[in-house]
């Protein structure tokens, strides 16, 4: 019975993130446009774009192989699986034992790698450059991610996301400063992660829709991860019923709305991070992650 309830919660979660990912993306663009004094596209514009793309007939470059038709699906699947693993409104969902931080972030990277292979397939200059840039930024971001995961592992003794969130709820991730630094480094990496649009220059139709959907899901995975670890209150307990779920859904939508508005305001005020500044920002993130890991180690020695 418990498993059925957990499976039900998991299904609702999957449906929720699938529906919400393009909406959150559109919402952020709309708020940004409003803050800049423009009317902006409606928040559900990404959904309309996806529908339009799916109806179009996909066209391929002459030298494209089976890879161009399968890799976007692989990218989408990897990102969607990561999205299914990161909890949103309830803890103790059916996939909770699978939701380790390393595989979740590894799946995101795997999705990007699959998309980069598509970009390299046609052998055109812009897509190849984008693939190279993606690989370079991954090299700068990945050490930070490992440092943050290490910090959480030392603080909690586990890297399972569900357990981490429960410990955060019980204020057991001590010292808080280490957790905050690790979270800040993760947030900076998430903010700097590049837009995959350049990788999909040679895709069209349903394949482009898959890649765009994966991009929106990628963003929502980061949002859920950070919101879950930083503001875990309001999530339904493991094994709870529909009432708690509705409360959890309300709490989750409030948190996501506020965070999205915050990110949009930040981007409106500071502008998008220019590509030249990305390595520097990732360097700062690495320093924050290192500091978090050091603090975690020091507290582990003291305890």
């Amino acid at each position: 019975m418990t498993f059925v309830v957990a499976m039900l919660a998991q299904s609702i979660h999957i449906a929720l993130v699938m529906a919400a990912a393009p909406l959150v993306c559109g919402l952020q663009r709309w708020i940004e446009a409003r803050l800049a004094g423009r009317a902006g596209p409606v928040p559900w514009q990404p959904w309309s774009d996806l529908r339009r793309l799916i109806r179009k007939q996909p066209a391929f470059a002459e030298n494209a192989t089976l890879l161009s038709r399968t890799a976007p699906a692989a990218c989408f699947a990897a990102t969607a699986l990561a999205a299914a693993l990161v909890p949103s409104f309830a803890r103790g969902m059916a996939f909770a034992p699978l939701a380790d931080l390393l595989p979740v972030l590894g799946l995101l990277l795997a999705g990007r790698v699959a998309l980069s292979l598509v970009a390299l397939e046609t052998g055109t200059a812009p897509a190849g450059l984008a693939a190279s840039r993606t690989a370079a930024l991954a090299c700068l971001a990945e050490p930070t991610l490992y440092l943050a995961i290490f910090a959480f592992g030392v603080l909690a003794g586990t890297t399972n996301l569900d357990q981490l969130i429960s410990m955060q709820l019980q204020a057991m991730l001590q010292p808080l400063s280490a957790a905050i630094l690790a979270l800040a480094s993760l947030a900076l990496v998430a903010l700097v992660s590049p837009d995959p649009a350049a990788l999909t220059a040679e895709l069209s139709g349903a394949d482009l829709a898959l890649a765009a959907f994966a991009g929106a899901l990628h963003q929502l995975v980061w949002l859920n991860l950070l919101v879950g670890l930083a503001l875990p209150f309001g999530m339904a307990e493991p094994g709870s019923g529909p009432v708690a779920w509705i409360a959890g859904l309300l709490a989750w939508s409030t948190k996501v709305l506020v965070t999205t508005a915050g990110i949009a305001a930040l981007r409106g005020a500071a502008g998008a991070i220019s590509p030249a500044l990305r390595p520097r920002a990732l360097g700062i993130a690495a320093a924050l992650g290192m500091l978090g890991a050091l603090l975690a180690l020091a507290s582990a020695v003291a305890a």
Binding site: A74, L117, A135
Partner: protein
């Protein structure tokens, strides 16, 4: 049962050099002899695999060869059987590939080398191990061209063998340095790794044995030297040099793989990365043993076994795929390849499978090993002093960087060599290799993929007994039937469900895509940001609009801020580390040009032996 298996294995290992000798005197039947050798090797691998799962007393056999006073003794315990299965499995694929393609005059070296590697693995004491290692290295050297690079391989093999022999007789305190200098160099440890790439470029299938069988054997001997039952508990500081050398190797390998100009050098760099990660695991395991933390030690050792196993399967696969590319497209220069996926689809798929297996992307075997390493580092006792804590954080960051560099290397190799447009007419008419060779590659690709997906069952089946031999305690591998477990109450990494979910999602999405996209395939010139299609006299497009083979990787020095953007474009500034790099490069060039000549190999080995002996006696006196 073990005694029976040992007799069978000894017979197989004796038959392999004999078959090699037969191929020399009877070159016309070389192909048939190589197929026979492949059959012998696969029977041996199967026998070894059976022995891995058997608990019980190790069997022993005394050979009628060796020194008069001390004949060679062979012992079969689960740890030796694990590495013998890897070596013979890699050897089977190599033999099958060289038998299926045109056997050249020096293919005789492959079964000979395999037999001697088996001797090194099964040898009960340092003499047999060292002699086997040295003889195997000499066989690889004999298979390559007789030039300076070959001479270096020869020296390295002799030195590694000599170091193993010396280490067995040396006091336990000297073992660390003997292990680092001898087997460490053969495995390609970072400051001593420069010989690896030329040895890989020696254009024979023997290079596949080098990365798929010789490197695992060297790591096995290192494991024996450092964790041997005879030695007391190793001092706690031994873990630090091992981990640091390992991290350095992993980073150097990852960086080289993104910069190398040809396929073989890049693959050798990949081997170096894998070796480095295994060394890091060994260092963690030693630290954990000194701190009496058997669960952490088991985790690190399981990661080491997994990394070496992946290297044996994936390393052989990538080396064989690279030699198929060289045979089919006529070059290994990345600048002259491209678009191989159209002409060599199966080889491309195999190369992709090998590189994914060796990269930390879930659900690959390398990812599982990295997961274990991260958790072992988390579980280690935390030193109270700041420098030690800083070093541990640096190790974690380096692990992440090595993983990302692996992904970048994968993208570069597959993207430049196999995808895109052909860069030369020769690459445009590349030919796939014969069917039996492709089947051997496919089998290896399936093996490396299945290892990654079902890492838990693989560890439980094949690593339980070897781990028991190393730790000498009733430990369970850090695995469950669905994946990995870190020993605490945390659920761990469930590779099997994650892989199943991933595959089923891909299947569902592709099925839905098929339902939606009903029309036939539409294709045209590449979009390329709106550029016009290339004219008719450029059938593969304008070469200048495609990334060059060497140009894919970013300038990491500039990226990491070591050199500022303006300094990188202006004439090279003479910073202290630039000076140091120039001087060390000059020294290395001097050493290879002046000192290492084909004739001077024995002299160098003698000198190094003397140095080792002095070192040993000094340690004993201290």
């Amino acid at each position: 049962m073990n005694a029976l298996l040992l007799t069978l294995l000894t017979a197989a290992l004796a038959a392999l050099p004999a078959l090699g000798a037969l191929a020399v005197v009877w070159p016309r039947q070389a192909r048939r002899i190589l197929w026979t050798a492949a059959a012998v090797a696969i029977i041996g691998a199967a026998a070894a695999l059976v022995s891995v799962t058997l608990a019980g007393t190790p069997a022993e056999i005394t050979l009628p060869i060796g020194l008069p006073a001390s004949p060679f003794r062979l012992t079969l315990d689960p740890l030796a059987a694990f590495f013998l299965a890897l070596t013979l499995g890699a050897g089977t694929a190599t033999l099958a590939c060289s038998a299926a393609t045109e056997p050249s005059s020096n293919t005789f070296a492959i079964p000979v080398c395999l037999g001697f590697l088996g001797l090194a693995v099964l040898g009960a004491e340092g003499l047999a191990q060292g002699a086997g290692l040295a003889a195997a290295g000499i066989a690889i050297w004999a298979a390559g061209p007789a030039d300076r690079d070959g001479a270096v391989t020869f020296c390295v093999a002799l030195l590694a063998g000599a170091a193993v022999i010396v280490a067995a007789a040396a006091p336990p305190q000297a073992r660390l340095w003997a292990a680092l200098i001898g087997p460490g160099m053969l495995a390609g440890l970072a400051p001593l790794h420069r010989w690896m790439a030329p040895a890989h470029r020696a254009s024979t299938h023997a290079a596949a044995l080098l990365s798929g069988a010789a490197v695992p054997t060297a790591l096995y001997l290192m494991l024996r030297l450092l964790f041997d039952a005879g030695a007391a508990v190793p001092p706690a500081w031994w873990g630090w040099p091992l981990s640091l050398f390992g991290v350095f190797s992993a980073l150097a390998g990852g960086l080289d793989a993104t910069r190398a100009a040809d396929l073989d050098t890049a693959l050798a760099a990949g081997t170096l990365r894998q070796t480095g990660l295994a060394m890091l695991g060994l260092g963690i395991a030693l630290t954990a043993r000194a701190a009496d933390l058997p669960s952490v030690e088991t985790m690190a050792l399981a990661a080491v076994l997994l990394l070496i196993g992946t290297q044996a399967i994936g390393g052989t696969l990538q080396a064989l795929a690279s030699s198929a590319v060289r045979a089919g497209a006529g070059t290994r220069q990345l600048d002259r390849l491209g678009g191989l996926v159209h002409r060599m689809p199966e080889t491309t798929l195999c190369l992709l499978a090998a590189l994914v297996g060796l990269t930390a992307l879930p659900p690959s075997a390398n990812f599982a090993a990295v997961w274990l390493l991260v958790h072992a580092l988390i579980g280690l006792p935390h030193a109270a002093i700041l420098p030690a804590q800083l070093l541990r954080c640096a190790m974690i960051a380096a692990l992440g960087l090595a993983s990302a560099l692996g992904a970048a290397g994968l993208l570069r190799l597959v993207g430049v060599a196999c995808l895109g447009r052909p860069r030369t007419p020769r690459a445009a008419v590349a030919q796939e290799q014969p069917r039996p060779a492709r089947l051997a590659l496919m089998a290896l690709a399936a093996a490396v993929t299945v290892t990654g997906i079902s890492v838990g069952p693989v560890l439980i089946l094949f690593a339980s007994q070897p781990l028991h031999v190393i730790t000498e305690a009733a430990v369970r591998p850090p695995a469950s039937w669905v994946g990995l477990a870190s020993g605490t109450d945390s659920p761990g990494y469930a590779s099997l469900p994650i892989a199943c979910l991933l595959l089923s999602t891909v299947g569902i999405v592709l099925w839905l895509r098929r339902l939606i996209v009903r029309s036939s395939l539409v294709s045209g010139p590449a979009w390329q940001d709106g550029f016009a299609a290339p004219p008719a006299w450029l059938p593969f497009g304008d070469p200048a609009t495609q990334a060059a083979g060497a140009g894919f990787a970013p300038d990491f020095a500039r990226l990491f801020g070591i050199v500022s953007a303006s300094a990188a474009t202006s004439p090279r500034p003479r910073l202290p580390w630039t000076e140091a790099a120039l001087w060390s490069r000059w020294g290395a060039a001097f050493a290879t040009r002046r000192l290492v000549r084909p004739g001077s190999a024995p002299a160098i080995v003698l000198i190094l032996l003397a140095v080792l002996l002095v070192l040993c006696s000094w340690t004993k006196a201290a």
